[in-house]
Amino acid sequence: MAAINRDDVAHLARLAHIEMSPEELDRMAGELAVIVDSVKSVSEAAGDDVPATSHPIPLNNVFREDVVGHTFTAEQALSGAPDSFEGRFKVPAILDED
């Protein structure tokens, strides 16, 4: 049985700032459980001799020299912003008064 239940989904939804109805939570818990089970089969296939990997391509040390490249102007940077003020992104206040 998958180790993901309705409470886990509700928790994740909150962390991800996604509003979900009770029905959606139920449905998603079921769907995620199937996905988690499917992924599990990968660990069954990999034996002890297969090291864990975070990347599918066996590459390492892909570096960039410390040389300045291109930048945006402030206008370009802000061109997709919903709101801006004096060259800066304007966002809603984040915390209420104590």
Partner: protein, 502 residues
């Protein structure tokens, strides 16, 4: 905003044993950012040092800055850490407007450096070892400015403005193991530890290390436990502690606050505290909650960093002399006493003295000028002595003028004022201000003869070998020449005049 109760520090220490922990963020001074080629420059127009990577545009790919990795390895080595043969980046997921990607690229289970230590020298000369848990690579976040509201603080702001110039600036976060056994020296140790880290990264040349610009930032963890108990108490984490003085004050304040909470029988709440320099207190941020579930996972857009032992040794070979070792060497070279040297270090003029000596002054002359003339002026002007505007060359020139008998010490001090007032080089100022000592022996001899004639008994004493009596005659001559005579030369001439061997 409510004011928290606090206990006196002494009482807190009688009843409780503090345990500390620090997370120090060091901004690297690379030319470009950690994962993008946008410039890493402080103080530019907002949102001009950004490109698509820093703004988290869809479909962009980060590329690791090689110099930043090398700087991180150097920091690890300087902190006596092991350098991981292989490490990787991870995403730390959270929603906050300071990071447009909705995650910070950091390292989680595989930091580049781990298991180090730093020996911290306290003011009485004793050494306290702080164990380093890890030092990992990550990126800085953008800068938020909270607008409106009563305080300019985050609480009660109407809206916030975001500048992403800082987003993506390479950071190394240095995390200590829990620091036990500091006792009542905890506040001093806190300050000394952060000072040592700052000194090390500055000495390595990998960071500008200017705390007022946020190049070195400290989060201070404090918890208390009753004496004799092994289990740690519940800790608070004070953020925004961005000067050495503030680190000391914040640790002291949190110890006092925790003690008052524990004395009242309540549990300490595990939470973030905000430091306020104006009131020298902390206020509650937010309690730790499941919002701190960052769901770290390996960054799929970046491949692992392998630090071959050859590469690490190459970097180790480039490390400069550690600051503590350098201090020992300089003190020995200069022949200063422990007290003299400590004063020099505390006054912040060790580097200036070193440069002055390199420019040609003797160790005692360099100390005389920096400690005797410049530190006081800097204090009055409220700047660092090194930023007052006195160059090593100025001091060498002043000293040459004094030793050559052109001016005396009193005049030299006036010349220094002239240099600071922008009147030119010392020799020019001597000329312009008409400060040169009377070096023509003619007028001096006249004045000497007059002084000797005015005090025949003193002249007789000197002839009889009582050389200390000469001061009275020198004084007469200096008065007659309105201080413009070289006292050393005057002495010589008096002795000559009286036919006495000096």
């Amino acid at each position: 905003m409510s004011t928290d109760a606090i206990l006196s520090f002494e009482e807190a220490m009688e009843k409780y044993d503090p345990v500390l922990g620090f997370e120090v963020h060091v901004e690297l001074n690379t030319n470009t950012k950690m994962f993008s080629s946008a410039p890493n420059v402080f103080g530019d127009e907002p949102n001009t040092n950004v490109n698509e990577v820093d703004l988290g545009m869809p479909g962009v790919l980060p590329v690791v800055n090689k110099t930043a990795v090398e700087s991180s390895i150097k920091i690890g080595l300087a902190l006596n850490c092991k350098i991981a043969e292989s490490c990787r980046f991870a995403r730390k997921n959270y929603f906050y407007p300071d990071t447009p990607k909705n995650f910070q690229t950091s390292q989680y289970d595989e930091p580049i450096a781990y298991d180090g230590y730093l020996d911290i020298e306290l003011s009485d000369g004793s050494v306290f070892r702080v164990e380093i848990e890890r030092a990992h690579m990550e990126e800085d976040a953008g800068k938020l400015t909270h607008m409106g509201g009563a305080t300019g603080r985050i609480q009660g702001a109407d809206y916030s403005l975001v500048d992403y110039n800082r987003a993506g600036v390479p950071l190394v976060e240095i995390v200590t193991k829990p620091i036990e056994g500091a006792g009542s020296r905890a506040p001093e140790l806190a300050k000394a530890y952060v000072a040592a880290v700052r000194e090390i990264v500055k000495n390595l040349g990998v960071s500008d290390a200017r705390m007022e610009r946020g190049n070195v930032r400290c989060d201070a963890n404090v918890s208390l436990r009753p004496h004799g108990r092994e289990r740690f108490g519940i800790r608070s984490e004070t953020k925004n502690v961005n000067s050495l003085r503030a680190v000391e004050h914040a640790v002291r304040y949190e110890i006092q606050r925790h003690a008052a909470v524990l004395e009242s029988g309540e549990p300490v709440i595990q939470e973030t505290r905000h430091w306020h320099e104006d009131t020298r207190t902390t206020t509650s941020g937010r309690a730790k909650s499941d919002a701190d579930d960052y769901r770290y996972f390996p960054e799929p857009d970046l491949v692992p960093v392998l630090a071959s032992r050859e590469w690490v040794e190459e970097l180790r070979a480039t490390l400069p002399e550690p600051p503590a070792a350098r201090r020992k060497r300089l003190q020995a070279d200069w022949g200063y006493s422990d007290l003299e040297f400590r004063d020099v270090v505390n006054a912040g003029v060790m580097d200036s003295i070193e440069e002055t000596i390199a420019a040609g002054a003797s160790a005692s002359v360099a100390r005389k000028w920096w400690m005797g003339e410049i530190v006081g002026r800097a204090k009055t002007a409220d700047v660092d002595p090194s930023e007052l505007g006195v160059t090593p060359q100025t001091i060498v020139e002043l000293n040459t003028l004094v030793e050559g008998g052109k001016i005396n010490n009193k005049m030299a001090s006036q010349v220094l004022d002239g240099v600071l007032a922008g009147e030119g080089a010392p020799a020019e100022i001597v000329e312009k201000r008409g400060l040169a000592v009377v070096s023509d022996d003619g007028p001096l001899l006249e004045a000497i003869d007059a002084a000797l004639a005015a005090q025949p008994d003193v002249a007789e004493k000197i002839r009889g070998g009582k050389l200390q009596a000469i001061g009275a005659i020198v004084g007469g001559v200096m008065k007659a020449t309105r201080g413009q005579a070289d006292a050393g030369r005057v002495k010589e001439l008096i002795l000559e005049r009286l036919g006495v061997e000096g």
